[in-house]
């Protein structure tokens, strides 16, 4: 033994070293993974598709909810006034003035949320291609249905994400558009074309009701882009009376709509423009005004509980107020009265108003009137006897309150309320401008 060890000690040491290197490398990689995390590649199965779709829908709720309130602030829908109790966000104040700076953190947050939403939707589509290619998926009817849902939701949301970019984000004050995955700047029209590409790909995977939703979104995009014939064609296939809205869904325990947290009972930074109170004053059937009072740093409804507020949510307009503070009289919105009130993204009423607008633009006032009255009837409002393009604009103002459409309406109808150099879009902020090599100023 002694002689053997002495004679071969170098060889023994080298063998130990080699064995040690080999076994250490394997051993350290055999660790137990975290329980709260799952590797991306383990999600490529049909059993995970619902989980992934829900993740995309969650991201949609966050991105759309954030876009809708900032768009409301930039438009003449919401106002910022420091006299509102606890309204202190300077980023919102600058957005309201149409002068958001490139370091506006609120807009940066929105860009992060839309980016995350777009990433989840796009990667779901790529993942669905991999899942669909698996033989066990092809041969299983249940799996095929899941795959259909996966493709549909992926393409739907990839389209909506690009629509959010095109409609709300801009490189310059009057130049809409954004970037995708550090791409060069994509103008709004091109971005909307990308959105339409995804939405059209969603249609083959859609149910009849889902297809109507997709067509309404397509119609909205064409309308924004001023392509009225295409908008007419899509809207004709769009949502009908009785169709449920496509909406962001929230819960009090997880995430709440920003229209509740930052323009409602949460901590109101924005409050509705006073004209909405005037709308109701002119026609009390437009909505309810719940009495409110300042309690500490928030405004609370007086005499009405959560359930009563929720019951009134189907109204076109609801407000809490009036509150008077240092010469300011204001209301809070109450169409999203509770933390779990869903946030409407698109409705059959919007589709009807698109048809009305398109008819009006075509000189077909009778159709326009019919569509406007269809909408008014749904809200138990008296029928109009005549309509014009301008009255459709006002109907849209009331009907689409809180859905982020006012910003593009003001642009489309050339009814901008601020100065000539103010922003029509929320700016691409510094994080993207500095970290995207295609956008960086040399």
């Amino acid at each position: 033994m002694q002689r053997f060890v002495k004679q071969f000690r170098t060889l023994i040491a080298a063998t130990c070293l080699t064995l040690g290197l080999w076994s250490c490398g394997g051993w350290v990689q055999g660790f137990d993974p975290r329980r709260d995390l799952v590797a991306d590649n383990l999600l490529d199965t049909t059993s995970q598709v619902t989980f992934l779709i829900t993740g995309v829908q969650r991201a949609f709720s966050l991105a759309y909810g954030n876009a809708a309130i900032q768009a409301g602030g930039l438009s003449d829908e919401l106002i910022f006034d420091a006299r509102v109790p606890n309204a202190t966000f300077p980023t919102y104040q600058l957005i309201d003035a149409g002068t958001p700076q490139l370091d506006n953190n609120s807009v940066s947050t929105l860009l992060t949320l839309i980016g995350n939403y777009r990433f989840l939707a796009d990667t779901l589509g790529v993942r669905m291609e991999r899942i669909a290619a698996k033989s066990d998926t092809v041969n299983d009817a249940g799996a095929r249905a899941t795959v259909r849902r996966g493709f549909f939701q992926s393409y739907l949301h990839s389209g909506i994400a690009r629509h959010l970019y095109a409609n709300y984000i801009g490189l310059e004050a009057r130049r809409g558009g954004a970037t995708i995955a550090t791409s060069p700047f994509i103008p709004s029209t091109t971005m909307h074309d990308l959105a339409l590409g995804y939405l059209n790909r969603a249609l083959p995977f859609a149910s009849a009701a889902e297809a109507r939703v997709v067509n309404s979104i397509i119609a909205r995009i064409h309308l924004i882009e001023g392509r009225y014939p295409q908008a007419q064609a899509a809207a004709a296939l769009g949502m009908r009376s009785g169709d449920g809205p496509l909406q962001a869904v929230y819960s009090a325990q997880t995430i709440s709509p920003l229209w509740w947290t930052e323009a409602g009972r949460g901590r109101a930074q924005f409050v509705p423009d006073p004209r909405f109170a005037r709308y109701i004053a002119a026609d009390p059937a437009e909505g309810r005004v719940f009495p409110g009072a300042v309690s500490g740093t928030v405004v609370v409804p007086v005499g009405a509980g959560d359930a009563e507020l929720a019951a009134a949510a189907p109204n076109r307009l609801n407000l809490i107020g009036p509150i008077v503070r240092t010469g300011l009289t204001f209301h809070l919105q109450a169409i999203y009265p509770n933390q779990d009130t869903p946030h409407r993204f698109i409705t059959w009423q919007e589709n009807a108003l698109m048809l009305a607008e398109l008819a009006s633009r075509n000189g077909d006032d009778a159709t326009a009137l019919t569509q406007v009255n269809n909408v008014r009837r749904a809200y138990n409002l008296a029928a109009r006897t005549a309509t014009t393009l301008d009255s459709v604009y006002i109907e849209r103002d009331k009907t689409l309150f809180g859905s982020g459409q006012r910003l593009s309406d003001q642009r489309r109808f050339n009814r901008w309320h601020l100065g000539a150099t103010t922003w029509w879009y929320l700016p691409i902020t510094l994080p993207e401008r500095s970290l995207n090599p295609n956008l960086r100023t040399p």
Binding site: A13, V28, F31, R34, D36, L37, L111, T179, V249
Partner: protein, 1047 residues
């Protein structure tokens, strides 16, 4: 079965070794210089045939006698604390008595002691190629009563400072080893008898419920009295072979082992400690107008004025410790038990610790030995709510002034505020809030050594270590009291469990006279593997309705919070070291380690760490006078690293996000598969000298850097991955570090009755951050703490305080100080003012946090043979502390700073004065302060002084105004010990040891810092935020009486 048990018992406690009464070795041991006899010297005779040792102790005449020796050759080893060991070979033949006398030489600094110099290398300190540090803990615990291991090390080791988070008993610690290794510093890795243990801080954020910035130190679980010594490998040059885990140095704790060496010896020791914690500083009116209320919360000293009974209101310390140290047959054993109960200086701070330790060593054959250790600890620590916390005593006595402004507006003087200073939380509410951390911890190890007789020089060693601690945090805010942010009571339970397993194995082969006579070769091949699992779970509920039902399940369902965490990490490394030494005059070592870690991608390149070191004993070259008994120069280079987090290298990980749609998949982690560990390099150059075996010193210059430091890099928002987990970890940072550590020591007097030794440590360390990456690549322009006070930013020291500086006050149209708009700030780049790449003002560098110069001075004076006076003073110079408490005092809402208040009165800004403005009108009027006239030089001077009290924001200069130079010197330890052993033995009461000791800790502080506690470290685990004092509890002054009894 019974007979087997008896056999086992016999093996454990019986005398199994057959003894054959034959030869005797006897002799006398004396001091070579003085000729005085040495008492209690341990003499070990080891048979060269069967390697079995037999021992004896010299008596009061210095005589020893080793009996019952078989015929044969014996190696005699004589060892005595403070002396170099003596060794000789004697032959016992025919039962004769052999005489062997020894004259021992002083070894003031333990040059002959074998010390650890690396992962598997040990050598005598005199020939070590790297700077080594050993703290003889057992000597210290004889002198002082320590609560934790951290206190044991404080001020004892050159290059190492230990800063407590606060004065909370059992609280967290920050280790500063040299300049802090990597970009973000950190704590050293700690081994106890070969077990790699956790030594970090738990109890805030993800590691338990916080009570402000305080945490609980895992080191508070160890019984200091169990520790024999602590060795520290301080930098990469020494710790490279520990691999990626050794980036901040390695602390090796060795606990006490059994003694006796086959003689069936048994020593039973008892140590009792009885003492008190008291505040080390009184709060003065200059520190807070509310000083009376602030002082009233602290425990009182025994016999303090006002005590109804002598010990009323005191914070007692009571400790009982018993250990058995001895030998039985083939076993050496150490059995230790400790029960310590210590109360902190404010209510709700208490430590109750029971520790049990069993160390066993067995020599089963002449080739083979095994040893094992088991330590079980039950540690119960309750913490008060301090540090940036309005639910505790400090937040309710150190923020609000006890006076209000109103009536004083008419010049009537301040009037008391309703409810005094308790404006946030009622004193009963504070008293009833509970926060407890109960640790149950098992630390166990077993070690096997094999030195085959058939191949002399080969030594095989394997250690398996296990550290399992479970900490259960419980908090309670009773429903019947009001607490801000809590609805009808709150209770939470957080359980943190750490399971750590390490296996270390090495083979060492030493060959003498290779190639040439006198040249020895030492080759070591080894491996280390470490597996750690962390589990936590947390539940929290509010809305209890009553304080009588506290079951967490009875809390309100809508406020439940539940979470769980699990993480497993594995590290491993294999190393090879080759050393050549020529007659211990000159030596050269080359080594390398290859590391593996589960926190790196399998595709990551190998982690390879080289190390090289050398030393030359000039004193052995024969060119120096004989008085120089040591002059050694040494140089070493090493590299080590700092690992990324476990998931940092994993490309894309999803988790569950809840919404109204239900649970859905969201991206949680975007990793970087190519991330590698931060690499730390260090060159160490040093020399050591000793004259006349009595005076000596050492000096080590260190220069190094860290590169590839891990920085979180943001992706562009359009990628969809911006903001995910704070960014992607990339190897972009770097920092340069340099400095020196030095010590001088002297044994000025040495005689039977008197002995005087001094020890001075002086360190200087600095660093500068070189890079944290390019902002165009998504790297941040700087890293900062949550309050924008301290930065990691290129060109500056780590954790530099930075902020705009006020230059000149503004005045309003009426000529009064313009409090609304604040002072004019320094924005001139020419003055060194820093800006971000996008042009935003950051501010002027104000100073670093950690002291540039640290050190200590200690003295040990034994007089009249049996009395010993010991003192240790520490200092820190060149550091800064942010006085957040003073900042809040100058908030007019609190108006708790007398200087600020009086200045405001002078400037006419106080309540009802002509210049009162929004923001300052809450300041009370002082009838004895005459207002100054605006637009006069006196008013200008007062305005400039007031400007430097502006508390409002970073933009108004609060970083510059409240970051204070914080130099300090502290009398850390003082003890007077009377060794009564001789006196008792002289009167016929036979004891091995009997001593009475009086000790004091933190007895005196000298500082220019205006706050209460200068040695501050609000958050010991924070990367950037250091030395920020906000309602931080001061360190306690501890007074102890100790009895040590051994028989």
């Amino acid at each position: 079965m019974r007979s087997k048990l008896l056999l086992v018992l016999a093996l454990l406690i019986g005398s199994c070794g057959a003894v054959f009464a034959q030869g005797v070795i006897r002799g006398k041991v004396t001091d070579k210089k003085t000729g005085e006899t040495l008492v209690g010297v341990r003499v070990t005779a080891t048979s060269q045939e069967d390697k079995k040792p037999v021992g004896a102790i010299s008596n009061k005449e210095g005589d020893f006698q080793v009996q019952n020796l078989k015929n044969g050759k014996y190696t005699l080893l004589v060892s005595y604390v403070g002396y170099k060991s003596g060794e000789s070979t004697v032959t016992v033949d025919g039962g004769a008595t052999v005489t062997a006398n020894f004259q021992l030489v002083l070894d003031v600094k333990g040059l002959d002691e074998v010390v650890v110099t690396g992962v598997a290398s040990r050598t005598q300190k005199a020939v070590s190629e790297v700077a080594v540090a050993r703290v003889n803990a057992s000597e210290l615990t004889d002198k002082m009563g320590y609560t934790s291991t951290g206190q044991l090390l404080s001020g004892k080791v050159a290059g190492v400072t230990i800063t407590p988070a606060s004065g909370t008993v059992g609280g967290g610690l920050r280790f500063n080893v040299r300049s802090g290794a990597g970009l973000f510093g950190g704590s050293p890795v700690i081994f106890i008898d070969g077990v790699r243990v956790g030594g970090g801080n738990v109890g805030t954020g993800t590691s338990g419920p916080g009570v402000g910035g305080q945490q609980v130190s895992e080191l508070a679980d160890l019984n200091p009295a169990d520790i024999e010594n602590i060795e520290i490998l301080k930098g990469a040059a020494a710790s490279a072979l520990y691999g990626t885990s050794g980036q901040n140095g390695v602390v090796l704790i060795k606990t006490k082992r059994g003694r006796g060496l086959g003689n069936n010896e048994l020593t039973i020791n008892y140590q009792g400690i009885y003492g008190f914690n008291t505040p080390s500083r009184a709060i003065t009116e200059e520190m807070a107008v509310s000083y009376k209320e602030a002082n009233a919360i602290y425990a009182r000293a025994p016999f303090a004025p006002g005590n109804k009974t002598p010990f009323e209101g005191t914070a007692p310390i009571i400790q009982h410790g018993v250990n058995l140290q001895g030998n039985s047959g083939i076993f050496n054993y150490y059995l230790g038990f400790e029960d310590r109960n210590e109360k902190g200086i404010v209510q709700q701070n208490e430590l109750r610790r029971q520790s049990f330790r069993l160390n066993l060593d067995a020599v089963t054959s002449r080739d083979f030995s095994i040893s094992g250790s088991v330590n079980y600890v039950n540690n119960f620590i309750t913490r008060p709510q301090n540090d940036n916390n309005v639910l505790g005593w400090l937040g309710n006595t150190m923020l609000f002034s006890p006076f209000i402004a109103d009536a004083a507006a008419n010049g009537g003087g301040p009037i008391p505020r309703a409810f005094g200073t308790y404006q946030f939380t009622d004193s009963l509410g504070i008293a009833l809030a509970e926060n407890a951390a109960n640790t149950r911890r098992l630390i166990a190890s077993s070690e096997i050594k094999y030195a085959p007789s058939w191949l002399p020089g080969l030594n095989l060693r394997a250690v398996v270590g296990y550290d399992n601690n479970t900490i259960r945090f419980e908090t309670l805010f009773p429903a019947t009291q009001f607490y801000s942010g809590i609805q009808s009571g709150n209770r939470s339970i957080f359980t943190l469990s750490n399971e750590r397993l390490n296996v270390d194995a090495s083979a060492n082969y030493e060959a003498k006279n290779v190639f040439i006579e006198g040249l020895s070769s030492n080759t070591t091949l080894g491996m280390q593997a470490f597996n750690t699992i962390t589990r936590t779970n947390f539940i929290d509920a509010q809305r209890f309705g009553t304080d009588l039902v506290r079951d967490i399940g009875s809390g309100g369902a809508t406020t439940f919070s539940i979470s769980e965490f699990f993480e497993n990490r594995r590290d491993a490394g294999i190393f090879l070291r080759q050393e050549f030494s020529y007659n211990q005059i000159v030596s050269l070592s080359l080594a390398a380690r290859n590391d593996f870690a589960s926190s790196l991608s399998p595709d990551a390149s190998a982690i390879f760490y080289p190390q090289a070191s050398t030393m030359l004993r000039i004193d052995k070259l024969g060119v120096l006078p004989e008085v120089v008994n040591l002059l050694k120069v040494r140089a070493a280079y090493g590299e080590t690293g700092s690992l990324p987090g476990v998931i940092d290298a994993q490309r894309l990980l999803f988790t569950t996000g809840q919404s109204g749609f239900g649970p859905g998949g969201i991206v949680q982690v975007l990793g970087n598969p190519s991330v590698v560990p931060e690499r730390i390099r260090e060159i160490e150059l040093g020399f050591e000298f000793e004259l006349d075996n009595a005076y000596g010193g050492e000096f080590t210059y260190i220069i190094g850097n860290a590169v590839n430091s891990l920085i979180n890099v943001q992706r562009a928002p359009s990628t969809g991955l911006n903001g995910v987990a704070g960014g992607v970890r990339r190897n972009l940072g770097s920092i340069d570090q340099w400095g020196f550590e030095s010590s001088l020591y002297a044994r000025a007097i040495q005689s039977t009755d008197y002995e005087l030794t001094f020890n001075v440590i002086f360190n200087y360390f600095d660093n500068v951050v070189r890079s944290i990456g390019n902002t165009d690549e998504g790297a941040p322009a700087f890293l900062q703490d949550g309050f924008n006070r301290q930065y990691i930013i290129p060109g500056q020291r780590r954790s530099q305080f930075i902020g705009p500086k006020p230059v000149t006050p503004r005045f309003n149209a009426a000529g009064y100080y313009d409090y609304v708009n604040g002072p004019v700030m320094d924005t001139a780049r020419a003055n060194g003012v820093l800006y971000t790449p996008t042009g935003a003002l950051i501010g002027s560098p104000i100073g670093g946090s950690a002291p540039l110069y640290t050190g200590s001075f200690s003295i040990n004076f034994r007089f009249l043979r049996d009395f010993t006076l010991y003192a240790l003073a520490e200092f820190g110079i060149g550091g800064n502390v942010y006085n957040g408490t003073r900042q809040f005092h100058t908030n007019p809402t609190y108006a708790n700073n007398i200087t600020f208040n009086r200045l405001a009165n002078q400037l006419g800004l106080a309540r009802g004065q002509a210049g009162a403005q929004a923001g300052v009108s809450n300041i009370p009027r002082y009838a004895d302060v005459a207002p100054l006239t605006p637009n006069t030089p006196e008013y200008q001077r007062a305005a400039e002084a007031f400007m430097r009290q502006d508390w409002i924001s970073v933009g108004r200069g609060n970083v510059a105004n409240f970051t204070e130079s914080a130099n300090w010197a502290r009398l850390r330890e003082l003890s007077l010990r009377f060794n009564a052993t001789r006196a008792f033995n002289d009167v016929g009461i036979g004891v091995k040891n009997l001593a009475f000791t009086l000790t004091g800790t933190n007895l005196f502080l000298l500082t220019n810092y205006t706050g209460v506690e200068v040695e501050i470290n609000g958050n010991p685990g924070s990367i950037v935020s250091q030395s920020q004092d906000f309602l931080t509890l001061q360190q306690a002054r501890a007074l102890n009486f100790m009895i040590s009894l051994g028989f």
